[in-house]
């Protein structure tokens, strides 16, 4: 039976959606241990127990350097558990931690993973989701960075209480990279773009006004995304960019409004379950991959849809 280590950079609050998906995947293996690079909060402990996982390792962040504490925790946790599967997030920070441990411990690193089988075969998206590939480790240890929205969250029953152990880290060398400043982003009420089940995204056709998209996103509880044309124009923050150099999303539903659907944008969203496209231009390439294409004015179609959703729910 395989033993899984699921690593989180932060478990100081209740686990988020992508974190719960990782816990679900971990709970399918013979043994599963959680490791966190922060202290594990009471809410997080309760959540972990809900997946039938009874062991967790933690090490509070002393706040020195950037990334070096997290790297030390992952390394120590892997040695402590001797796991043959390490699960972590697919964000760039977590991937890089896994990547460094892969060269340090002669392990395999696979990114964009959508599933891991009992035989430790990872299934992953390849070439921006146009291929699905499967890969395994040749050295006995697989590190998998798992895409959000790939695993159905399913707490498998309680382990009672979680035994939490403080990891003992070796003496840290002087950090090579120091944090000079931190700017917190404005907290949004919306779900995070990479984790959202529904995304409403706008492009050049929005012409500076994301109002109709915000309205529909409110009605659907969706995250807001954008094409590079819209972020470059300064209509919305770069964080909202979906595409090759932005966020890659795989929601249940992706509503594309005023986006032509150039290849770099498609690369970020073509694995969405359902795609609805609204565009004035009947020749927009996005219509080739849309389940429902609407040739029309987004400023009319989206508010009408938002009002109709509210009416039906009322």
């Amino acid at each position: 039976m395989s033993s899984a280590l699921v690593f989180f950079t932060d478990l100081s609050a209740a686990p988020g959606k992508a974190q719960r998906e990782l816990l679900t995947l971990a709970s399918r293996f013979g043994t599963a241990v959680v490791a966190a690079a922060t202290e594990i909060s009471a809410e997080a402990r309760e959540a972990i127990a809900g997946y039938g996982i009874g062991t967790a390792l933690q090490a509070a962040n002393p706040g020195r350097g950037f990334g070096e504490h997290e790297l030390a925790v992952l390394d120590a946790a892997l040695q402590h558990t001797d796991a043959d599967l390490v699960l972590l997030g697919n964000d760039s920070f977590s991937r890089e931690l896994g990547a460094r441990i892969a060269v340090r411990r002669n392990a395999a690193i696979v990114t964009d993973v959508i599933d891991v089988s009992a035989e430790l075969i990872a299934t992953k998206d390849e070439l921006a989701g146009s291929y699905t590939a499967s890969a395994k480790s040749t050295t006995g240890v697989l590190i998998a960075a798992v895409k959000p929205n790939s695993i159905e969250d399913a707490p498998a029953g309680s382990a009672g209480t979680v035994q939490v152990t403080d990891l003992v880290l070796g003496d840290a060398a002087a950090p090579k990279v120091s944090i000079v400043a931190v700017e917190e982003k404005v907290a949004s009420e919306r779900p995070s773009l990479s984790e959202a089940r529904v995304v409403v995204a706008g492009g050049r056709g929005v012409d500076g006004d994301f109002g109709p998209l915000e309205d529909l996103a409110d009605a659907l509880g969706a995250a807001i995304g954008a094409s590079r044309a819209a972020t470059d124009a300064g209509w919305i923050s770069h964080d909202a960019q979906v595409g090759q150099t932005g966020v890659t999303v795989s929601p249940q539903l992706y509503i594309s409004a005023g986006i032509s659907g150039a290849i770099q944008q498609k690369a970020g969203m073509q694995t969405s379950k359902y795609i609805i496209a609204v565009n004035k231009d009947v020749d927009a390439p996005v219509f080739d991959i849309a389940d429902l294409g609407i040739v029309g004015d987004l400023a009319k179609v989206l508010p009408q849809a938002a009002a109709e959703i509210r009416r039906r729910r009322a």
Binding site: A102, D112, S130, K136, T138, V177
Partner: protein
């Protein structure tokens, strides 16, 4: 801000020759490797070349003795990515050319590139793009920092260099924050497409590039054995790669005043609301 007294910097920019993302890309079903005909310089590596050139220009220019070495690995035509970097303004090229490299995964690639960087004396800075546009793993820069023992400054959306302190300062998007990070040399720097606007090679640059030297080395020349790279040196083994079925053609409607209602009907039919 030119400062002729700056100690010359040796910068290695890593560039990759990748299949053009504008066309359909294919994975060969026998080798399970990417078809690499019709390749170009990875678009994201242009930002790396630009970052290195801008750093030199802001610190006395090439006249101050700085070097920007464009380096790549892979057989045959992969050297074209180095040529493009030379046209943009890199001072010389370095090509690790060895048939045994084929099939290298991220770990094997990083081992080969780390040895290639060590082949260059006294490297201060390694610059890369944020990801390759083919494998898109985005993990090689971090692995290079690990293998070389250099500071890791990755996914930089802006770059500043303090020549007197020999320190780099970068901004990076990190979870729900934007962090400003600082590190001394030597370092591995990866830059995003937000970091700069890459220059186009001009006629002068294209002519000058013809006179620049490209050193070609093989694995033995950088102290690596064939089994340390390629499929044998890789820690992953690809079992299968299947093209996803094309999305079935959907329904296209023209709005005649009630398309918003049709949109909601679709959501209801698919149980999305």
């Amino acid at each position: 801000m030119s400062d002729a007294s700056t100690t010359p910097l040796t910068i290695v920019v890593l560039v990759k020759h990748v299949p053009d993302v504008q066309f359909d890309r294919h994975i060969d079903q026998e080798s399970l490797r990417l078809d690499r005909s019709e390749s170009v310089l990875s678009e994201l590596d242009e930002y790396a070349v630009e970052a290195a050139l801008a750093l030199v220009e802001d610190n006395g220019g090439f006249a101050a003795g700085h070097q920007v070495i464009a380096a790549t690995m892979g057989a045959g035509s992969s050297v074209n990515s180095v040529k493009k970097a030379l046209q943009m303004g890199a001072s010389s090229g370095l090509h690790l050319n060895d048939a045994a490299l084929a099939g290298s995964d991220a770990v094997a690639t990083s081992k080969a590139l780390a040895a290639l960087v060590r082949h260059v004396p006294n490297v201060d800075l390694v610059v890369t793009g944020m990801a390759s546009t083919d494998a898109e793993t985005s993990v090689v820069p971090a692995q290079l920092a690990e293998l070389l023992g250099f500071a890791q400054l990755t996914h930089a959306a802006s770059v500043a260099f303090d020549a007197s302190a020999r320190e780099l300062t970068v901004d990076r998007e990190h979870l729900n924050q934007r962090v400003t990070l600082k590190a001394g040399l030597p370092a591995v720097l990866s830059v995003t497409d937000q970091a700069n606007d890459p220059r186009y090679p001009n006629f002068k640059g294209i002519m000058a590039a013809k006179k620049k030297s490209i050193e070609e080395v093989d694995l033995a020349g950088i102290g690596l054995a064939a089994q340390e790279v390629g499929a044998e040196g890789s820690t992953t083994s690809v079992l299968a790669a299947e093209q996803r079925p094309a999305r079935p053609a959907g329904t296209i409607i023209h709005d005649s005043g009630d398309a918003g209602i049709a949109l909601v009907d679709f959501l209801a039919a698919q149980k999305l609301i």
